[in-house]
Amino acid sequence: MMTAFLATLAHILLNSVEGWAISRHFYSDCGIVARVCVSILTGIYFETLLIFLLLFLGLPVLSLPLALLVSTAILVSFSLWKKKRGQFFSRPDFSPFKPHWYEIIVGAVLLGKVIFSLWVLDASPVYFDDALTHWSARGRAIFGGVNWSFDPNSPLFMGFTGHKHYPLMIPLWRAATAAFTGEWNGVFARVDGILFFVLVILTVWAAVKHFSQSRALAAVSAFLLLSLPFHIWHSFSGFADIGVEVFAVASMAALLRKEWFIAGFLAAGTAWAKNDGIVLFIPPLFLSCLIIQRTLPAAMKNGIRFLAGVCTLLPWFIFKLFLMPGIAPGEEGFSWHGDIFFKLIEIVIDGPTHTVFWIFVPVILCLTFKNMFKDAIGRAMLAFSFLSFWVVVLVFGMTDAYRFLVNEMTIHRTMLQYYGVSVMICLYAVFLSQKKEKERHVG
C-alpha cells in the first residue's frame, strides 16, 4: 500500500510539473491554489492524451514512465527557453496564510474525509461494478498489454470488458500509475477519486475567494461540497463521474479568470473522462464562454480560443469517428416520456441522495435572477444552468436513459457531476446580492 501511494504521489507530482509547463503560457493572475489545481488537471489531461497516441502507435506500456519523463523534460525545457526576463519565476504570493477559525474547521473536515476515503481504499477491494469493468479492468488490461488492441478487427478492440465507447482518461491514468511501479495495485484502481474530490473542493474554494475576495464565502463553498453525503462515496468508488465534475468546475473557474484556451481544454477534459461531457458540459460551457464576453468581436475571438482548447481532444474524436461510431452505449432511439419532470422532482429533488441541495440551488437562482441577469458573469452562469437543465431533461426524458432515471442507476451520478459548478454559481449569486446590498446602503 505504501509503495502504491508513493507511486501515486510521484505521478501526481509529474502531472503537476507537466501541467504547469503547458498551462503557464495561458495563465492569468491567479492564486497558488488555483494554479496547482489547473496544473495537475492539465497534466493529467495532456499526459493521458499523449499515452493514448503512443499506445495507438504501438509503444509498450512499460516504456511509458520513460516516455512521460522525457516529454515532461522537453516541456519544462521549452518553458525555460521561452522565459521572459523576470517573468518565468513569477512567484505566486507566499505571504503567510493565517487561517481563520472557520477555515481550520473546514480544513479539518476535508482532512477527515480524505483519511476516511484512504481507509476505505485499504479496507475494501475494488468493489463497485463500473469500477470493476469500465474503469479499472480496462486500465488493468491496458497495463497488462495482452487484452487490449486499437485494431477494430481484433476481438480485443478497446479491451475485452466494459463499454468500448467510454473514453480512456481514467483507465490510462491508472495504467500509467501502475507502470511506475511495474505492477498493478487496488490503490491505483480508485485513488484518483480522492485526488479529484480534493481538487473540486480546492478549485471551488479558490474561485469563490477570487471573485468575492471573501474567505468566509470561500470556506462556505468548500464546506457545502464536503457535506453533501453522496459526494464522499465517489471519492473511493473508482467511477469516472467525479472526474467529469472536477474538469467541469475547473473549466468554469478558468472562464471566470478569462483563461479561454484553458477553459476549452478543461471542458474537453469532461468528455475525455466520460462520454457525458460531450453533451452535458461542453455545450453549456461554450455558451457561457460566449455570453460572458462584453462585445461580439470579443465573443468571436475568445469563443475560438475556447474551441481551440476543446479541439485538443480531436485525436480521440477522430479515432471515435472512424473506428467507433456513436456517442454512448445502449440503444439509440428517441421517445418523449411525459412524466420526466415529476420523476426528476420525485427522485432527484425529493429523494435522499442529494439531501436538499437541489431545492437550495433553484431557490437561490430564482431569488437572485434579476441581479444575475444584469451582470455579465451572472448571465453566463444563468445560461449554463438553463442549458444544463434542459440537456438533462432531454437526455433522461427523450432517450433510452429514461430507464436509468427510473431505476436510479445513473441520474444521481449525473447530478453529482454538477455539484461543483452549482455551488460556484450559487455562491456567485450570493456574492452579487451582497454587493448590491452594500451599494444600496452606501447609496
Partner: protein, 264 residues
C-alpha cells in the same frame, strides 16, 4: 487440478428465504417493524395487505441484530393490515409495535448501508417517521426566517438563506460523519465485502495457475464474473473467436466456481 470456491450469499434478497408472516390483523398506525437477523446489509421486502385488500410493499436494508425498521413514511402503512410479511431474509423475534425513544434513535442513527448500489443512490434516514431531509429542510427554513427577521436591516434574504442552508448542512454533516464512523466499524463484517475479498484472493490464485495460457469464463454469476474479469485483465483472455485455443475455463458449477484446465 480443479480449483473450487464456494460462493457466499450476497446482498441480493435470499430467494431461499421465502416470505415469512410476522404479524396478522395488526394496526399499523405509528408503528414500526422490529426483528432480529444474523444478516446485515441485505435488501429485503416488507409486504402487507392493507385495509382495502391491496398489497403494499416497501424495500429495506437489514442491520445485523435486533433493530427497528421505519415504515411510517410509507403512505400505505396505516389502518389495519390483514398480514405483514418479510421476504428475502431470515428473521426472528419479529413484531410490529410502537418504538420507544431509544428505538427511535436506533432507527435514526442507522448508517448508510454499504451496497453495490450505494454509488448510484443513497437510502437516507428518517427521524420519528419523517424523512431526515424534510426535517433539516424545516430547520433550515426556520433558521433562515429567524436570521432574516432579526437582521433584516443588515443582511439580504439571500445571505439569510445561505446561512440557513449552511446550518442545515452542518446538521447533515454531523449525521453523515456519525454514520461513516459506524460504517467503518462494521465494514469488515460486511458479507458482500467479505465475498468480494474472497473472490479477489481466489482470483489471484487463478492468475497464478493460468500463467501465460489463455482463459475464458462461462455461466458465472455477474458479481463473480466482473470481479474475476478485473483480476485477470492482465492475463490472456480467449474471446469466442479463439474457442479452439487451449484455455482454462472458469465456470460456475454446483454452487461454486471451478477452474477447468485446458484439454490436452
Amino acid at each position: 487440478m480443479v480449483f473450487f470456491l464456494c460462493l457466499l450469499p450476497g446482498e441480493q434478497p435470499d430467494a431461499s428465504s421465502g416470505a415469512r408472516n410476522v404479524a396478522r390483523k395488526v394496526s399499523l398506525d405509528k408503528k414500526v417493524l422490529f426483528f432480529n437477523t444474523a444478516h446485515g446489509e441485505r435488501i429485503f421486502t416488507v409486504g402487507w395487505i392493507d385495509g382495502a385488500g391491496q398489497l403494499q410493499e416497501k424495500r429495506h436494508v437489514s442491520r445485523k441484530g435486533f433493530h427497528g425498521y421505519e415504515m411510517r413514511d410509507h403512505k400505505g402503512w396505516s389502518g389495519e393490515a390483514e398480514t405483514v410479511s418479510v421476504g428475502g431474509i431470515k428473521v426472528d423475534s419479529e413484531r410490529v409495535d410502537f418504538p420507544n425513544l431509544s428505538e427511535e434513535m436506533d432507527i435514526f442513527l442507522a448508517y448508510e448501508p454499504w451496497l453495490r448500489s450505494s454509488v448510484n443512490a443513497l437510502w437516507g434516514h428518517t427521524l420519528f417517521g419523517f424523512s431526515w431531509d424534510r426535517v433539516v429542510l424545516l430547520v433550515g427554513f426556520l433558521i433562515t426566517v429567524a436570521i432574516y427577521v432579526v437582521k433584516k436591516s443588515s443582511i439580504s434574504l439571500t445571505t439569510a438563506l445561505l446561512s440557513g442552508f449552511v446550518f442545515l448542512m452542518i446538521l447533515v454533516e454531523i449525521r453523515t460523519t456519525y454514520g461513516h464512523i459506524r460504517m467503518a466499524e462494521k465494514l469488515k463484517e460486511n458479507e458482500s465485502i467479505a465475498q468480494a475479498r474472497g473472490l479477489a484472493v481466489f482470483s489471484r490464485q487463478l492468475a497464478g495457475r493460468i500463467g501465460e495460457k489463455h482463459w475464458s469464463s462461462e455461466k458465472l454469476p455477474s458479481i463473480a464474473s466482473i470481479t474475476i474479469a478485473y483480476a485477470l485483465a492482465g492475463k490472456r483472455f480467449a474471446p469466442p473467436s479463439l474457442k479452439d485455443t487451449p484455455q482454462y475455463v472458469i465456470s460456475y458449477q454446483n454452487g461454486g466456481i471451478v477452474l477447468i484446465p485446458p484439454v490436452r
